[in-house]
């Protein structure tokens, strides 16, 4: 399932996939795969992404 919340948060923060990847220490492909729902990140990486985008885990990764 696509992670639209993360993509929206990233776009709102005006951060490119490449920049976000640099901030959290992964490759751009990994960020792309997370957003497209093709890779399940570890909790550690989820927290890193949340910190980089200034959001909570609920904001980005909780599905209603």
């Amino acid at each position: 399932m696509k992670n639209k919340k993360m993509k929206i948060a990233r776009v709102e923060a005006e951060v490119s996939q490449e920049r976000l990847a640099e901030m959290v220490g992964v490759t751009r492909q990994t960020i792309n795969l997370i957003e497209s729902g093709n890779y399940n990140p570890t909790l550690k990486l989820c927290i890193e992404i949340c910190k980089a985008l200034n959001k909570t885990l609920n904001d980005l990764f909780w599905e209603e």
Binding site: E22, G25, V26, T27, T30, L33, Y39, P41, K44, L45
Partner: protein, 154 residues
Amino acid sequence: MSADKTVKETKVMMTVSLIAGLILLAIGLVTRQLNFGFLSDNKALLALSLLPFSMAFVSFLKLSRIKNSPEKMRSMLIRENDERLVALNNEADAKTFKILQGTLFLAYFGYTFLFPQEIFESAGWWVLLILLLGSMLLQGILRHQIGKSSKESS
């Protein structure tokens, strides 16, 4: 992993490979000169020394690339530490190990059934048996150790 740690590890790798290559080369040259009888072909040691030398060369290239281009170094570090790529590498390593273990198992059984007269007699049979048992034991020991270290770190 920090950049300093990578540089340090690469330097250690280069030094160890270089020393191993030099030792093999020196032993090869000495045994060739003195024509010792315990080695059937002294050229084997000279040829084997090429392997650590090439490993040292690869480490040297990596070091020079790190020093010449910090940008490349950063992207290389990210590639080495990306959890997805690390998981992919680990999976590939695990599959390779399983295939090698299976091959070892088949080689041991094939050898035992094809050459029954060599059981407990030839060095080849013992080597295969030790490698097979070693791979099985080592897997269990490593699993235990990794489990223990992850418990300690949590």
